[in-house]
């Protein structure tokens, strides 16, 4: 039985057929190019993980120079936008409940008097924590803000009340992305997400379409072999994927100004590996799904964890162990580390290798399943 022998002429027959069909299908071709550009612009500009200018209401029960300094400092920090100053804590609460403000800051009665007496009055900060991530940067900034706000007021006889500097310095260096620019993280990540969506989907419907249209029977009645059909169908998509990757990287470099520190050659090689692994997944779906609708649903079943559990938006290390295990299986998790590593950190082959072999392993597994799942009969 030479069922798995590969011949070039049959491979080319399938390849040429696929290229012609792809060229004729203008709509799909347009989507394959349009989707990456649109998503890159929308998400690249929309997602911000260090939100600033959050609506804040202050209720001041004790007007005076100290209150003024604190309010001014909040406003200047760029984290808070004071949308209303009131003297009623109840109204501040209502604004939080309605969602008109994310923060309510209350300066209680006798704040100045207690401060001067050294009674350490409370400055109450209430935050809308329904979205824990939204306010975390702003909340973290408050204690420091309050201390520096009053530094200029607490002079002369009040000087002893000012906060003393710590006995040591904490030096924090934000490496690789010192300004915490979200786009540096999101845009390379989008490369992984967009490729996952388009590559898996395009391949998933490859064989299902033949089945739906009845041409599959004809393909099986001819002496074409599973490997020839698979490689012939996948190859055009490799080019589409390469084109998408180039497009996204160009936009990343020249529109979003993402640093490109590492080797582009290494990036190209790992992208090719990633794309091939995705095509393996798509083809496996293709051999299982009965129609294009099912193929689509299975693609989304794969896509969601690829977005949620890969560290694309949510920190990978913040997930429980079992979720990290799922994440480690997905090729995108490793690809994201590789892309961010190469672009932002300038990582080389040595640093990237721990994330390359899991992708090779995945590709091998997906390929094996796809080939064995491919039925050579209609049973």
């Amino acid at each position: 039985m030479n069922g798995y022998r590969f011949t070039l002429h049959r491979f080319f027959a399938v390849l040429i057929k696929e290229m012609i069909q792809m060229r004729r299908d203008r709509m799909t071709l347009g989507l394959l190019i349009g989707i990456p550009v649109m998503q890159l612009f929308i998400f690249g500009y929309a997602i911000n993980m260090v939100p600033r200018h959050l609506a804040t209401v202050v209720s001041v029960a004790d007007p005076g120079p100290f209150s003024n300094s604190i309010v001014a400092a909040l406003n200047n920090s760029s984290y808070f936008d004071i949308v209303k100053a009131t003297n009623s804590p109840a109204e501040a609460r209502r604004m939080l409940a309605r969602g008109d403000a994310s923060f309510a800051i209350e300066i209680p009665a006798n704040f100045s008097r207690d401060l001067i007496r050294g009674a350490k009055p409370n400055l109450l900060v209430e935050a809308d924590a329904t979205d824990p991530a939204a306010g975390s940067y702003a909340i973290a900034a408050i204690p420091n803000l309050a201390v520096t706000a009053l530094r200029d007021d607490l002079v002369g006889p009040l000087a002893p009340l000012a906060a003393k500097p710590a006995a040591f310095n904490v030096a924090v260096h934000n490496l690789y992305n010192p300004e915490n620019i979200t786009q540096y993280n999101i845009v390379p990540g989008l490369l992984g997400v967009i490729l996952t969506l388009t590559m898996v989907l395009a391949t998933a419907i490859a064989l299902t379409r033949e089945r739906e249209r009845g041409t599959y029977e004809n393909l099986l009645a001819m002496p074409t072999r599973p490997v020839e059909i698979m490689v012939g169908k996948i190859t055009p998509n490799i080019f589409v994927g390469a084109f998408q990757a180039m497009l996204i990287l160009l936009l990343a470099r020249f529109v979003f100004h993402v640093p490109f520190i590492g080797s582009l050659g290494l990036l190209a090689a790992t992208s090719a590996l990633f794309i091939t692994a995705l095509l393996g997944v798509g083809y496996t779906i293709s051999t299982v799904a009965r129609n294009q609708m099912q193929a689509m649903q299975m693609t989304f079943f794969f896509l969601l964890p690829s977005i949620m559990l890969s560290g694309f938006i949510f920190p990978f290390r913040g997930m429980p162990g079992w979720a990290q295990v799922i994440g480690e299986v997905l090729p995108i998790t490793h690809f994201l580390r590789i892309v961010r590593g190469i672009l932002l950190k300038g990582n080389g082959t040595f640093e990237v290798w721990p994330d390359i072999w899991p992708m090779i392993l995945f590709l091998f597994a997906a390929g094996t399943v796809a080939i064995t799942r491919f039925r050579r009969t209609l049973d």
């Binding site: 002429h9 049959r10 040429i16 012609i20 009845g214 004809n218 009645a221 001819m222 074409t224 009969t377």
Partner: protein, 306 residues
Amino acid sequence: MEYAINVRGLTKRFGKKVAVNNVDIAVPEGEVWGFLGPNGSGKTTTIRMLCGLLSADAGEGTCLGYDFRTQSEAIKRETGYMTQKFSFWEDLSIRENLEFVARVYGLPKKRQLVDDTLEKLGLVSRQRQLAGELSGGWKQRMALAACMLHSPRLLLLDEPTAGVDPKARRDFWDEIHKLSSQGITVLVSTHYMDEAERCDQIVFISYGDKVAQGPVLKIIEQSGLITFTLEGDRARALADELRGKPGVEFVAFFGAMLHVSGYNRALLEATLAPYRGDPSLKISETHPSLEDVFIQLQDRATRGAA
């Protein structure tokens, strides 16, 4: 005699349902055999098993000298299979479809071969047209040409003329007979009696069982059926009256005529006797047509299954 198809005990089950039950088929090389049976009787399943598209649950034998269960690769290379539903790529042009087939089979002088085929089909001027835009008759001609491109020794045609106009149907059968005279074996499934009558032999299957086989005349003879025709203005009105009378197996319309068939001549004559006096009715005995036999076989199989 050399057999192009020679299989015994062909069986296929889908779950609990037996689609093809212990069928033997032996088609000598160069003959045209018709494959008849009602819808869902197992014709398509049988053809698919012969060319390796479905794996048989039981049975043994050869197709073109190759073991049909283990050497389907070799069989596929020398067989042309035309599916019931048009299964070429509608978003490829006629020429591109033919070129695809030529590439898959690795045929030499591809360009010349495709040119010649288009010439023969009379499609040279429309070669860039998408296959999906062709009419039913042209699609079927293109499909036959594509199946013949690699010069197969065996043609398996699954209801090739369904939905095709009478002229195109006749041309198609002329082509089949021409191929047969060149030594190609043809197994063709059909619902049309006139097509069946153009076959060297017919195989009749019903509910997966082979119920009859042989040349058309022999099948008619073997059926033991006696048929009378009733002609005249009143003939059509008598159909319901005669149905179920002693000796009458079934009654069928043939245009303005009525065919009344049964197995027992004496009973049938007795039933028809009262009508003989009617001057407006002309009653005469005739040879049962293949359609009479077809209906009878189908009736009998239905009763057997019930």
